[in-house]
C-alpha cells in the first residue's frame, strides 16, 4: 500500500495559522530556542515567538551563530532582535572558533572565525554577554566532514546536542528552499506534526513559517513596523531583484558575490575584511566576472574545460587538498559539462563539496547526437 503527502489549503491566513503553530509548541515544550540569522525570515519568526512568550510570561532563547565575517547590518539586526522583549529573552549569541570556507583565496582555504590570538584583527570584539566557550564537551564533539573539521553545520549539531527536550524554531520556508523543505517534511518529526524534524535527546526542529510566501514576510515586517537589515534596502536601491537578496557570511562560495557591492554598502566592514581575510579584493574585483569566480566562460588560453580543469588541478597550491579534489573527480564522468563544474569547485576552493557536481553526460553531446541521427 502506498500513500503520498498532498498539499491542502486551509481556510486561514498564514499569520493566523503560524500563531497557532507557535502556541502549540509552547504548550508542548518548556524549552524553546529560535535560531536567527539577521535575515528577514528569522526576524519575523523571532517577533511572533517573542510575542507569544510575552503573552505567556515565558522566556525563549534567541540563538545566533556568529560567523564573524558578516555585514555590520546583520549584527545590528540581531542586537535589535535580542532587545525586543528583554524580559522574555535568553540571549544565546555564540562566538566560538570554527572553520569557514573561504571561496576567494587559493592559499587561505579556511578562515577560522574568532581564531585565538588574532583578536587584534577580528572584525569586531566579542560581546561581553556572548557564549565565548564551546558549551559542549569537546571530547564528544562531532564533525560532519573530516577534511573540514568543525564547520558551521557541525557547530549547530553540537550546540543542539548540548541541549535536551528543546524545540528549535527555524524560519525555513517551502517556497524559498523547496528541496530542503521536501527533505525535512517527509515524515512527522514530533507526534503527528509534519513541519518538524526529530533530533537527538528529545530535541525537535520546527518550521512554523513553512507556508509563508515572500510577500507575506515583508507585509508582516511592514505591518508590525519591525526593523530589518539595511542590506535589503541597499541591494534594492542597487537594482537587485529583491528575491535574490541574502544576508549570509561574506566569504562563502554561495555568497562571495556580495563582496562586489560591499564597499558601496558598508565601507568600514569592507576595510576590516581586507585586513582579516586573504582574497577579499579578488572577490571584490572579480566576484561577478564570468571568467574568474563565476566560471561560466572558458578563459581564452584554454581550448576545453577538461584542459582548464587539468591546469587548475596541476597548479593547485596545496598538495593535500589537491588530493581531495583528484580523488573526488576520479569518480566523475569525463566530459566538458562535468569538467566545467569541476573547474568551479577548484576556483572556489570547494573542498567541502558544497557545490555538488551534476555528474551526467554532456547535454550538448546528446543534442548533437540527435541531430546527427536526423541528418
Amino acid at each position: 500500500m502506498s500513500s503520498t503527502l498532498k498539499q491542502v489549503y486551509i481556510n486561514k491566513t498564514v499569520i493566523d495559522a503560524t500563531r497557532e503553530r507557535i502556541s502549540y509548541v509552547f504548550d508542548e515544550f518548556e524549552n524553546i530556542i529560535v535560531s536567527v540569522s539577521g535575515g528577514k525570515d528569522s526576524t519575523v519568526l523571532a517577533h511572533i515567538v517573542l510575542q507569544e512568550a510575552h503573552r505567556r510570561g515565558r522566556k525563549v532563547g534567541i540563538f545566533f551563530l556568529d560567523e564573524e565575517v558578516v555585514y555590520d547590518s546583520t549584527i545590528k539586526q540581531v542586537e535589535y532582535l535580542m532587545e525586543m522583549y528583554p524580559e522574555n529573552t535568553t540571549k544565546l549569541w555564540l562566538q566560538v572558533e570554527f572553520n569557514l570556507t573561504n571561496a576567494t583565496s587559493l592559499t587561505e582555504n579556511y578562515l577560522k572565525c574568532w581564531e585565538k590570538g588574532k583578536h587584534k584583527i577580528w572584525m569586531r570584539s566579542k560581546k561581553a554577554f556572548a557564549i565565548q566557550q564551546k558549551p559542549w564537551d569537546e571530547a564528544k564533539e562531532t564533525i560532519r566532514n573530516k577534511d573540514v573539521g568543525l564547520d558551521f553545520y557541525a557547530v549547530l549539531d553540537n550546540f543542539e546536542n548540548s541541549r535536551e527536550n528543546t524545540a528549535f524554531l527555524v524560519g525555513l520556508r517551502a517556497t524559498e528552499s523547496p528541496n530542503r523543505w521536501r527533505a525535512v517534511s517527509k515524515n512527522p518529526g514530533y507526534k503527528n506534526v509534519f513541519w518538524c524534524t526529530g533530533k537527538k535527546h528529545g530535541n525537535c526542529a520546527f518550521y512554523p513559517l513553512y507556508d509563508w510566501n515572500f510577500h507575506d514576510i515583508w507585509k508582516y515586517i511592514y505591518d508590525s513596523q519591525l526593523r530589518y537589515s539595511k542590506i535589503y534596502d541597499y541591494m534594492y536601491k542597487k537594482g537587485m531583484g529583491i528575491q535574490e537578496i541574502r544576508v549570509s557570511s561574506l566569504i562563502h562560495e554561495k555568497s562571495f558575490k556580495a563582496l562586489v557591492e560591499l564597499p558601496e554598502f558598508e565601507p568600514d566592514t569592507y576595510n576590516k575584511l581586507l585586513k582579516r581575510v586573504k582574497g577579499v579584493s579578488v572577490g571584490n574585483l572579480y566576484g561577478k566576472d564570468s571568467k574568474m569566480l563565476k566560471v561560466s566562460k572558458l578563459p581564452k588560453n584554454f581550448r576545453t574545460w577538461i584542459e582548464y580543469r587539468d591546469f587548475l588541478l596541476a597548479t593547485y597550491p596545496d598538495d593535500e587538498k589537491r588530493e581531495i579534489f583528484a580523488k573526488r573527480f576520479s569518480n566523475h564522468l569525463e566530459n566538458r559539462y562535468v569538467a566545467r563544474q569541476q573547474c568551479r569547485q577548484l576556483v572556489l576552493n570547494d573542498i567541502e563539496n558544497n557545490l555538488p557536481i551534476d555528474n551526467k553526460p554532456d547535454p550538448r553531446e546528446l543534442t548533437l547526437q540527435k541531430w546527427r541521427e536526423l541528418l
Binding site: 503520498t4 503527502l5 498532498k6 507575506d216 515583508w218 539595511k230 537594482g239
Partner: protein
Amino acid sequence: MEGTTIIIETKKGDIALPLLEVQIVDINRVQANNYNPNAVADNNMALLEESILSNGFCFAVVTIYDKDIDKYIIVDGFHRYSIFKDYLEAKQLPIIVLNHDVTQRMAATVQFNRARGVHQVELMGDLVQALVQQGVEDADISQRLGMEEEEVYRLKQITGIAELFKNQIYSKSWGMVEVNEND
C-alpha cells in the same frame, strides 16, 4: 619630472606636479595603448560626455611620448580622448607627458583606473533626495547623473523595501495530508 620646477613638499618627499605642464596637441598625434584593460559601459560614456560638456575638460589626458612613431601614447584618459575625438570631433586635445618606461606606464594605467572610490548607496540616496528637494525633475536627474530612471526611482525611496508590500494580503495557509494513492 623633466622641466617641472614647482613641487609640493610632503612627509614622503617632494611630489612632482605634471598637471602644471599641460600641452594642447593635434588630436591625431595621440593614440591608445595596447594593454588598457579598462572598459567603460555606454551609459557611462554618455555620462562622461555630459560631464565634459557641463564642466569642461578638467583632467588632461596622461601620455608618454614614443619617439619611434612620433606619437603620444595614452597612459590614462582613453575614454576622455574618445569622447573628444569621436563624439565631439575635436581637433586638439590637452595632454601631459610623463617620462615612464613601459613597466611604469602599465602600472600607472592600472593605478589611475583602480585607485578610485565607489559611491555608498545610502549617501547616493541622500544626494538624489537633495536634488529632488532642489526641484530637479527625475528625468533631469537621470540625465545629469547618468542613471536610468528606474535607479533614480529606487534611490528616491526612503521608506525601504517593506513599504512596497503594505497593500498585499496574507496568503492562505496550507497543510500536508496523507492520501492513499488509489484514491
